[in-house]
Symmetry: C2
Subunit: 359 residues, 2 copies
């Protein structure tokens, strides 16, 4: 299948989950317009390729394993046959609908890169996916984005009705905090002295990224912009994406690093990494919306264009959008340079994946 | 004003915030039907009256002071003039609309009764009010209970529209956890070693009472019952109220006790106290809906009857509903007997207030 590459200027053969070695040599960089950090960028690409080769990191296997483990945790977190059955069914429908589990993978990878055991961050990995799903369920509501299709399936309110969809989101949001706060969510080998403070700090990060400093703020400004006659300035677009998308990706990474026992300096470097890939995620999403079909995306494609929504391609054009994405990818990679190469491989490949994904 | 007393068989003169001494001697107990715990009940009433007299506890002043302190905390928790302005405005509209602040008062009183400083529980007191407000905003939505009036004012979606109302609820829910998790929410004299674990445990209690084990579960079953041709059995009605109303009242008390440094035994006794007043709260609410006007309630009265909703008065009749309320009040008071009388006065009077309130 000749897939259209969001960062490439022309159609290239590329697997949906592209290993970094091929990503680093893909034509995207060859045709990129020159910009000030070109030298540093090339060096990073070379380092990334070398690291990938040295560790022979298998990204597809990694993501498959993490998704399976997270799915088991999510499945166990909501009883299938306890009352209220309709609510639990709707929560499970929304939460276990597939999805790539990118946020949980980022959380687990950040925990590992600072030397923590992945199991210490598993409750948080499940929690960030619950929050992500909650935001999708509420954003899809008829009074909001009015979306009928999500992850290739009818949206929650289409199947269960609007009241249950609102309540499913509320229940998933509270479950995320319940899951993180429960002592029995964690393995017994967490540091008994330091663990409670780490959990409190993590919960603070998660909570902050949801409300008026995060997802909700992004959605509010997004709604305000939609259908507006005024052209949306680039800084407003960036505000939307930093809040609506990047904030939760940032929290996923930062929480993983906190629960893994990372130092403040490590946590802040990973925060910068996460901010870059967060914005990158949205820029690529915008590009994919313009260039892919609904079938390929598993959600309604061309919706942004149809609804006259401002996107990066609309504001900057496709080419400049791709260049912006490249710069963000390079910045993210740069933040990983101080970490152990082998341990940083998952985060490096996750950044590549976010840049080169096909849906 | 000849107010109609929810627990009385006939109209009696009673102030809206009734001091316990008068409550204990109000005609309600004289006309109560006999039941097995009558002796114990009388003893408790006598104790309550004695305690009230001994401490000369001024409930109105207490509630006024606590409400003012909580309102200051709530006001400070949401910036008035930071973006996104529309969201912050809607959050402030819903949260600062008045309200009696019963849940925060319970939280602060529970902290004090186990020997804690009220300031240790103030972030939680604010948080439980945020959660309460969130549940009101979402339950009032057109797709849910479709209520236009709340606390005497137009509901959030009437003023700001449905999308903002959904998002306001989400933002308040996440803010509650953010507020509880922030280190700077707490005064510096909390026990540095034990505080983080107490906060984690408290957050777990708060989160549990919201989702499929609490508020949301109650609302789901309530929606399922509304308009159903089947008569609702009493156990189902109790399920609704235990989840929709009692769960958050329970969490308010339990969290206060945890943050105050209460022992597990104290916390569990206060949990039982809270469960009784939680159900009491709803039984009285049902009675008030039948017996009061919209103006007096500050919300649409007679709505339960109009919507053919099952209530305690409908299932048991007014008289039996009042007897049930009395038993719950007596059970609640019984749980306070082991605590220092002076310190327990606010919780005792809060139970009385919940029983004897006029709206």
């Amino acid at each position: 299948m000749a897939a259209f590459h969001p960062l490439a200027a022309s159609r290239v053969r590329i697997s949906p989950l592209l290993p970094a070695a091929s990503a680093a040599t893909a034509p995207v960089y060859a045709c990129a317009a020159p910009y000030s950090r070109r030298r540093r960028f090339s060096a990073i690409v070379a380092t990334a390729a070398a690291a990938a080769a040295a560790t022979e990191f298998d990204f597809n296997t990694y993501m498959g394993e993490k998704a399976a483990a997270v799915n088991r945790a999510l499945d166990a977190s909501i009883p299938a046959d306890e009352p209220p059955a309709s609510l639990h069914e709707a929560m499970r429908y929304a939460l276990l609908a597939g999805g790539k589990r990118v946020r949980p993978a980022l959380c687990l990878a950040a925990c590992a890169v600072v030397g923590g055991r992945e199991a210490w961050a598993m409750p948080a990995a499940a929690a960030v996916e619950m929050v992500h799903t909650m935001s999708l369920v509420h954003d899809d509501l008829p009074c909001m984005d009015d979306d009928d299709l999500r992850r290739g399936k009818p949206t929650c309110h289409v199947v269960y009705g609007e009241p249950i969809a609102v309540l499913t989101g509320d229940a998933l949001l509270s479950l995320s905090f319940h899951h993180m706060a429960r002592t029995d969510s964690y393995p017994p080998d967490v540091d008994a002295d330091k663990h409670p403070a780490r959990v409190v700090r993590s919960i603070g990060e998660l909570a902050r990224c949801i409300g008026s400093e995060g997802l909700v703020a992004g959605q509010v400004v997004d709604l305000e912009m939609t259908g507006s006659a005024e052209p949306v300035p680039i800084d407003r677009l960036e505000y939307i994406h930093l809040h609506k998308t990047a904030a939760l990706l940032e929290a996923s990474v930062v929480i993983g690093a906190i629960l893994g026992g990372g130092s403040d300096e490590q946590i802040e470097r990973l925060r910068k990494y996460a901010r870059s890939i967060g914005l990158l995620f949205q820029v690529v999403d915008d590009i994919l919306d313009v260039t892919k079909s609904s079938e390929e995306l598993g959600k309604t494609a061309g919706k942004d264009l149809a609804s006259d929504k401002t996107t990066y391609p609309k504001l900057l054009g496709l080419e400049k959008s791709r260049e912006f994405a490249e710069r963000l990818l390079s910045d993210a990679r740069g933040q990983l340079s101080g970490f152990d190469k082998e341990k940083a491989a998952p985060l490096l490949h996750l950044a590549n994946y976010i840049a080169y994904r096909q849906n």
